[in-house]
């Protein structure tokens, strides 16, 4: 059947053409980005806005390696299996040079696994899980944002300064919540052997029965509370806790609660005096952050959220990594991204060569009410490099193959 054979060959040639055309000259550097735009819109939409802003700014400066950046985004619908399929689409069909993205930890891990198998580079922006750079870390995966460990360790440090000895924990029952509690307990106990944890609550993610949870915590008569709840769970918890007086005369230490994504919805019921990690937003008065916030506000007429900071820094970090590599070839990019330093609105950061973790830092401070809105006060920025364990500990956690 010579005819059909020719047809088949012709068809496959036609499919291959765009790839041939793209391979030559100063075509854009394509960044394929996958995130949970429909299932986590509160976090990912400001994030995508900021990515577009960063791409525009970099292109206005002449791009990277003389080539403009181009951003292609895809929605994973909160499903890691979809993310893997779309990663294939972006690399094989859209011919992207760099894969980036993910909000959920499992999507991040699925993409990192894809990157390892296909020997392609993947830069995770938001996923928090420690596994991504440590026990499941691999050669091709980098992660920007401070991890669960980093957030929990700075909070444990702050908690150790409190007089409280009787602690309780409340955390969504899944990997992130369990890791956060594990690290917090471990670090706080090593700094303060006199501390004891007298109760723990593990509501199912997204389905907290806040009244019963608050009541159960109250029953343990704690002196301090470590909270990992976020989103609608946090809103329910705070409201019941306020009414039932759970937080009165007690210290509360809380993961991520200072992020506007989670603090704003609390409105005038935002708790006061909680020690939190988060993002003070436009209260940050460094020149770099002011310029960034002004540009963001001008373009989108909205205040920059924590997700915006991550999205903006992610694109800048990719630009820096590619520039340092001097190539978009995967193996060269891995070497280039290792130790690549980049500017973020929060301050300079780099991707550590030892575990590919970004050193973007953490804002830690206290919550307060200003004009009936929750804000962060007394905050300081802690550089990410100061929040990580010693190098030999990190080497021990990372698989030997991840070099």
């Amino acid at each position: 059947m010579p005819l059909s054979r020719r047809l088949v060959l012709g068809a496959s040639g036609a499919f291959a053409m765009p790839g041939l055309l793209r391979a030559q000259g100063s075509n854009p550097i394509r960044i394929g980005e996958i995130n949970s735009y429909t299932s986590q819109p509160a976090f990912t939409l400001p994030y995508r806005n900021a990515m577009q802003l960063a791409v525009e700014q970099i292109n206005a400066r002449g791009g990277v390696l003389g080539r403009p950046l181009e951003l292609i985004t895809r929605d994973d619908a909160g499903r890691p299996q979809d993310a893997v399929r779309l990663a294939g689409e972006l690399y094989n069909d859209q011919k992207v040079d760099v894969l980036a993205g993910a909000f959920l930890s499992n999507v991040g891990l699925a993409l990192s696994e894809y990157a390892l198998q296909n020997k392609r580079i993947y830069i995770g922006g938001e996923p928090l899980t420690d596994a991504m750079v440590w026990d499941r870390g691999n050669r091709y995966t980098f992660r920007l944002r401070p991890s669960t460990y980093m957030q929990a360790s700075i909070l444990a440090e702050e908690a150790a300064k409190l007089p409280a000895k009787r602690w309780v924990t409340v955390s969504p029952n899944y990997e992130y919540g369990q890791s956060a509690v594990k690290w917090f307990k471990q670090i706080l106990s090593s700094k303060r052997p006199d501390v004891q944890f007298v109760a723990e609550q593990w509501p199912a993610l997204g389905r907290v029965d806040a009244g019963a949870t608050v009541q159960a915590l109250e029953q343990a008569r704690p002196e301090a509370i470590f909270n990992v709840l976020f989103g609608p769970d946090l809103t329910n918890f705070v409201r019941q806790g306020n009414t039932r007086g759970l937080f009165e005369r007690r210290s509360v230490v809380s993961m991520l609660t200072g992020e506007p994504e989670y603090l704003d919805p609390l409105g005038d019921e935002a708790p006061e005096g909680w020690i939190v990690t988060g993002y003070p937003g436009e209260a940050i008065d460094t020149p770099a952050h002011k310029a960034y916030a002004a540009a963001y506000r001008q373009k989108f007429n909205a205040k920059p959220m924590c997700g915006s900071l991550v999205g903006y820094s992610l694109i800048n970090s990719i630009a820096a990594g590619v520039a340092k590599a001097g190539s978009t070839e995967a193996e060269k990019m891995v070497e280039g991204f290792r130790g690549a330093s980049f500017e973020t609105p929060a301050g300079p950061a780099l991707y550590r060569a030892i575990d590919h973790q970004g050193t973007l830092g953490v804002y830690v401070g206290k919550t307060a009410l200003r004009r009936n809105e929750g804000v962060m006060v007394d905050w300081r920025y802690v550089d990410g490099k100061d929040l990580l364990p010693a190098d030999d500990v990190v080497r021990g956690m990372r698989p030997a193959s991840a070099t």
Partner: protein
Amino acid sequence: MDSIIPQLLTGLAGASSLFLVASGLTIIFGVTRIVNFSHGSLMMLGAYIGWSILTRLPRDPEWFILGLVLTVLAIALIGVVLEVVVLRRVYRAPELFQLLATFGVVLVLQDVTLWIWGAVELPLPRPRWMRGFVEIMGNRFPFYDLILIFVGPVVLGLLWLLMNRTRWGTLVRAATLDREMVAALGVNQRTLFTSVFALGAGLAGLGGALSLPNSSANLNIDLSIITDAFVVVVVGGLGSLTGAFLASLLIGILQAFGIVLVPKITLVLVFLVMAVVLVFRPNGLMGRPQAEAREATVAAPVIRAAPRELRILGLVALALAVAAPLVVGDYYLTVLTDACVAIIFATSLHFMMGPGGMASFGHAAWFGIGAYAAGLLMQWIGAPMPVGMLAAPVAAGIVAALFGWFVVRLSGVYLSMLTLAFAQIVWAISFQWVEVTGGDNGLLGLWPSEWARDPTIFYWIALVLAVGVALLLRRALFAPYGYALRAARDSATRAQSIGLDVKRLRIVALVIAGAACGLSGAIFSYSKGGIFPTYISIPHSVEALLMVLLGGLQTVAGPIIGALVYTGLADILVRSTDLWRLVLGSVIVLLVVAFPEGIAGAARRLWLRGREA
């Protein structure tokens, strides 16, 4: 133990909230026999519309009540629109088809809500009276929760009066017992159905608005509340208001104390309760055995072997599928591999659902068990792909046999709900038991053996397995066993009287379907490189239903066509628009209205027209 009373009261407040949502669902089901998946979406709309109204009103209690009334009316109106525009057109469709339509509505409403109210959750600012508390046994108890405790019984009382002291209520009760008889007596069914739907929707709206002071209007309400509502309705007995009330009390209180005693397994607890209740009382606490709708006793058409033309078409499609790697790029190859997985996923569900007559709402459970069996073997003993692919159907089949013992004594929606409960338990284990399953981070590093790593080879493996499974299932269908199974579906009593062991037939069907589905889970995991709890999520189970029903229940080709259409449609939509849920939902609704017998069914009808005249 001075905390028992406050914890009990907390449980009662939770029970009231549950009852509001569940009561609407149970009333709607009782009369229209519709399993309304969009009930949670109506509650979500109630929260959002309630938020929009209440934030514009003064914050005093009397205005709050006015806001509630307005919200209830608004949601009731939306319910009427929904009923008239969508559901009215599918009452005549086979059972479960309405479920498909309501799921389309869920998807549409998710995007509509996001579009109108935005992504950020919207809490209702609480005025002082809502923040008040009373001191009970040395513990503060929220004043608002105290009110909630009374709302449940009051609503129950009002509904009782409505049902027992009005003519309308009498008609509703009559329709719950025997809908055809009511119609035969000259009652206008259309207005009755519409008004029932409005009442149910209004109750959901009330539940949504009343939840505002304790939480917020957010986009996750719909799917998180609907499972709870299903559980309550099923435990209480479908169509029974008192049953729903008792079930809410049981679950609300159990939840409150479960949090203190076993904080880590509250999620599983609820579904365990449901499973236990159904095992001992197959019709729920207060339910009666379902009067069989009369249409259902008309035996479904006999599945016949496909005509010659269709076989040729199938062979051509197969030839194209085999040759596909020569033509398409790597990406489309993975989509085709996904399609092969979907074919096994859908045909296995069709086997128990079509010929077996057991509709599963939790088919993803088998998918997940197969996947985790392969993944855990890889993790524990480094089992390679062939071992994993063999272990997956075996594991899923064994679990199906155990589960089958519980499930085959049930029928209809109760059976479907028990499968849903089972899938949720499996999901909760995979999600929360981080030490073994890796939790939501999943099991990683599950890749094909070296020789099968090339996407083309792997695709051919998936294709061979998909075609093989489909042919085997078809073979079973036309074997004596298949005829016996269909006899048991069409009339269990007659089948029994001619000596067929109906229970055994059904268990075997479940094992076959479960094992096949487990295999698809393993193939999928090897193609994605990992296993995640999302494989077992409710939307994934619904996807299986969608594929089967879209394709058509009454032909063997149906689920295959459904799987292909759904996979293709979802892939194209997700990549082309952020509003893919809106489009996909609308397409589903349109397909359901246009082809109530599924795509393959409609094609078959067109084909037969003029040939069998």
